[in-house]
Structure formats: C-alpha cells, structure tokens
C-alpha cells in the first residue's frame, strides 16, 4: 500500500471539499508558473508546505519521501544550467546561478502544490471530480477499477515474488529473469480469473452494466473557498508588487 494513498485517506483534510483543495493547489501552481519566481515561488512554497504538513497533518517523513525523487531530478536538471563545458574545460556558466535558482524555486513551488493535492486527496476523489467536470462515465469507472485492483495485483505479485525467492528462484541473473517471466505469465490468468469472480459478485448485487455508487461528498465551505481565493490574490499581488 503506497504511503501517498495512505496519507491521502488518513490526513486531517480528507473530508474537506475537493473544490477547496483543488482550487488552492492548482491556483497556486498557476501563479508559480506564470509569475516571476522571485518572490512568487517562495511565497507559494511558504504557503503550501505548511498547509500540507501543519494544516492537513501529513507526516514530514511521508512528504520528504515523496519529494526526494523529484528533487533529485531537479538537482540533475540544474547542473547543465549552472555549469558550462567548452574548449577551456568545465566552468561556471554566465548568468547560470540566477537562472538555476529561478528554475529550482519554480519547480519546488510546483512540487509543493502537486504534493499537497496528492497527499490530501485520494485518487478516487480526483477521478470523481473529473467525472463531474465531464469525463465520460466509462472512463471514470475503468480508472476506479484499475486503481482498486492495482493494489490486489501488486499484493499477489509480491507474494509470488517472495515464494519464488524462498525456493531460490532469484539466484543468478538468468534464473531471476526466468522467475520474473513466470510471474508475469501467471499474473495474467489470475487477473482474468479474478475479473470473472468480480463479475459474479457484482451480478449477485444486481449489476446491470452500470456501476452506480452513492458518494458522500464533502460540502463546499464558502468561507474556506473565499479564504483560498484571498490567499491566492494576496500571493499574486505580492508576486507582482515585489518583483
């Protein structure tokens, strides 16, 4: 079970309305992208990171775990901007530090916005939101089913992998590859078999081809949304004024 999913389901703002969270995250993201990085990106980070950690009470360890990979990519990405390789050898690029700092600030701001949304809002809420925005029902259902069964398939694969390892199936590269091939070949019929049983289960509950479920959606709090919009307006004006 992924830590992102766990945080998304168990954080304090789980039951805040999707609109409030999406407007906050995507609005701030847009500001960070459009406006000059200094100081807008910094303000965005200063708002979004505390919102995630203190507001939604997402554990710092989870946040850092999720941020590590993108930050690693960012570090690699800024290197070619900071440095220049020419006939004289490796040296600092002219105007490199300023450019790299701007890029890094913008990327970190965007990351803080996306992590806020990912860590406070379960994937199913996001898909539900897209559906209300006009995503066709079939695609939404498919996405939800894939999301649900991804975990089951993952668990099965992990169990099979452990069983193979216990029987020395991972000793040596050749055997490791062979075991992996067998695992993938076994997963497919298992997935099909499960799909067949799922159909029996759904039919027993009167399934007629459409998956209707009742979602309890959090009511939109107008004051919270107003606060979000005010925050964004303040960030935007600070960004324009101070740059």
């Amino acid at each position: 079970m992924s830590p992102i999913d766990r945080a998304a389901h168990l954080n304090r703002w789980r039951h805040r309305s999707l609109a409030e969270k999406a407007v906050l995250a995507l609005g701030m993201l847009a500001l960070a992208v459009i406006l000059p990085p200094f100081p807008t990106a910094l303000v965005v980070v200063v708002v979004m990171v505390p919102a995630t950690l203190a507001g939604a009470r997402v554990p710092l360890k989870v946040w850092l775990g999720c941020a590590a990979a993108p930050l690693g990519f960012l570090l690699m990405g800024t290197m070619p901007i900071l440095l220049r390789l020419d006939a004289t050898g490796l040296g600092p690029a002219p105007g490199g530090p300023a450019l790299a700092a701007g890029l890094a600030a913008r990327a970190i701001a965007a990351l803080s916005c996306l992590l806020f949304l990912a860590l406070t809002t379960p994937a199913c809420d996001l898909i539900g939101g897209l559906r209300r925005l006009g995503l066709p029902a079939e695609i939404a259902e498919l996405a939800l089913l894939i999301y649900r069964f991804l975990f089951l398939l993952g668990d099965t694969a992990l169990a099979m992998d452990a069983a193979q390892a216990a029987r020395l199936g991972h000793v040596g590269l050749g055997r490791r590859l062979r075991s992996l091939g067998l695992l993938i070949a076994t997963l497919l019929p298992r997935a099909l078999e499960r799909a067949r049983r799922l159909e029996i289960g759904l039919a027993a509950r009167g399934w007629d081809g459409e998956m209707r479920v009742l979602s309890r959606r959090a009511a939109l709090s107008p004051s919270a949304l107003a606060l979000v919009l005010a925050l964004e307006a303040a960030t935007a004006s600070a960004g324009i004024w101070l740059s």
Partner: protein, 299 residues
C-alpha cells in the same frame, strides 16, 4: 415453509468434471442452514446455482414453489430476494470506499439516495462497521473486508443470504464478530445459508444441516440428528463435532439426563466440566467425612 428449493440439480463444468449430481435441497424460511462438506465437494457451485449465476444441466431451482428462469428480468427478481456473499471478499469489493461499495446493491434496486443511505447505514451498523464507512477497501483487514462484503449483500435486504465459507481464514476474534453479526441478521428474520467444512461451527450456529459430498446432499435435517450419525459423517469425510461427542458421552454416563440439552459450544462444555468437578469434589469430601466417622466408631 419452503422458500428456496433445489430439485435433482446436476451440473458439470466444461471439461466434464461433475460438480452436482442430482442434488436435492430445501431451504425453509427463517432457518439457519449449514451446507457441510469437505473441500472440493462442490459447495460453491451449489451456491452459484441458488442465485442463478450458473444454469444447471438438469434439474430445477424453485423459489416459493415456482420454477426460476434465467432471463434478465427473472434473474433480477431472483437476486433481489436471494443475496450471495463470495468467499474472497476481494472478489466483491470494487468501489473506492466502504460506503460507496455497500451503496451499489441498494442503487441497483432502484432506491432513492435517501432510502439507499438509510439501508447502507443500517447494514453497516448490523455488521458493526459503521466507523469504517469512509475507508477504502485496501486499507481494511481481512475480517473487516469480509464484513463489508456481507454488508453489501445485507443492504439489499434479501430474504435469504447465501454465504460461502463465511468464517474461512478469520481469526477467533474475527469469527466471533462475524457470527454475532449473522446472529443479529437471523434474529431480524433473514434466512441464512452458509457452506462450511467446520463441523464445530455448524453445530454451534446452524439449526439445520445438509451433509454434502460428491455433488449430492447425503442427508438434510436438524443439526443434532445429522451430526450424531457417525456413519453418515464418515461417508461425507467429516468427523462429529467435539461438543456433541462430549455431550453424548456425558449422557451415556448418566451425567446428563435425556431431557438435559446437549452442549453446543465451548461455554456449555465448560459448564458441564464445572458440574463434573463439583460432583467429584463433593463426593470425595463426603467420602472422607464418612471415613472419619467410621474411624471414630472404631476408636
């Protein structure tokens, strides 16, 4: 009164493996019927016939004495009255949260959102999982998933609930929780039919037993009668329940009279043991007092 009935039901899986072989079964309203048989006897196949998932190659399933059909409309009417819970809850839970998953059946019945919500809340409360309503299925324990799967069927308020191995794989605590929930459903009038290979569970919980092996019901009747028949149990590759064996032994030894109820579970066995201990200590203390009197006489 017979609610659901299978008559001379036969079914062979593609490939020729016979799963049901002229099976007869009657399910009376308000009963708790255990279909007891060893692994691989075809119990699941039987349940899949009882809600119309599988179509028998011969024989009929009767609902209220009327033959059932396999048309779309007939199946819908049938499944409205006969609910099914699969053995592996992961085969049944598909939605993003417990509440949404349980809402699936009621909405398929065509209920309004308000009516559906009322049923969902009641089903969750009946299974003791109201606090899990907003959880996604993959964050639940095995026992919790099982109860959610049952709630999904219960929310449709079926007259008969078919459960495939409801306690399989559950720990002691989980099994107790589940049985308590089933007890509440039975008390509200739901007819329960469950498959099991656990004779002790069946004896403790069911009032009627259908002994099943090799695609046939070998015998059907009151739990105590069927399970006391050692030859019959042996034919179904099962052993008598412990509580019943102890009870019959106690009765044969005169510790229980013919009118005393036989123990059905652990609590009653322990009560019997207590009586036995009390009897031993009182008789031994009585004996030592007599010995003392006797010795005094000698003196």
């Amino acid at each position: 009164m017979t609610l659901l009935e299978a008559r001379a039901l036969s079914y062979a899986y593609p490939g020729g493996i016979t799963a049901l072989d002229g099976l007869d079964l009657t399910i009376a309203r308000g009963r708790r019927l255990a279909i007891l048989g060893p692994n691989g006897a075809g119990k699941t196949t039987l349940l899949l016939h009882l809600n119309g998932t599988l179509n028998p190659s011969a024989g009929r399933v009767l609902l209220d004495g009327t033959a059932t059909g396999h048309s779309r409309a007939a199946l819908a009417a049938w499944r409205r009255r006969v609910g099914l819970v699969l053995q592996d809850a992961d085969d049944q839970l598909f939605a993003a949260s417990v509440f949404e998953d349980v809402s699936f059946g009621p909405l398929n019945l065509g209920l309004s959102d308000a009516q559906a919500t009322e049923r969902i809340d009641q089903a969750l409360a009946a299974l003791g999982i109201a606090d899990l309503a907003e959880r996604p299925p993959h964050l639940l324990s095995f026992g919790q998933k099982k109860r959610v799967a049952i709630a999904g069927a219960v929310a449709m308020r079926p007259e008969i609930l078919l459960l495939d191995e409801p306690t399989a794989g559950l720990d002691h605590h989980g099994a107790l929780h589940l049985l308590a929930a089933l007890e509440r459903l039975a008390a509200e009038g739901t007819t329960l039919v469950f498959t099991s290979h656990d004779v002790d569970l069946a004896y403790g919980f069911a009032d009627e037993i259908a002994l099943f092996d090799q695609g046939r019901v070998l015998a059907q009747g009151p739990a105590a009668t069927i399970l006391a028949d050692a030859a019959l149990l042996k034919a179904a590759r099962l052993a008598p329940p412990l509580a019943l064996s102890i009870g019959l032994k106690a009765r044969a030894a005169g510790l229980l009279t013919e009118s005393d109820p036989l123990p059905r579970g652990k609590a009653e066995i322990l009560a019997l043991v207590d009586r036995l201990i009390a009897g031993i200590s009182s008789s031994s203390s009585g004996q030592s007092a007599a010995t003392r009197d006797h010795s005094r006489e000698i003196v």
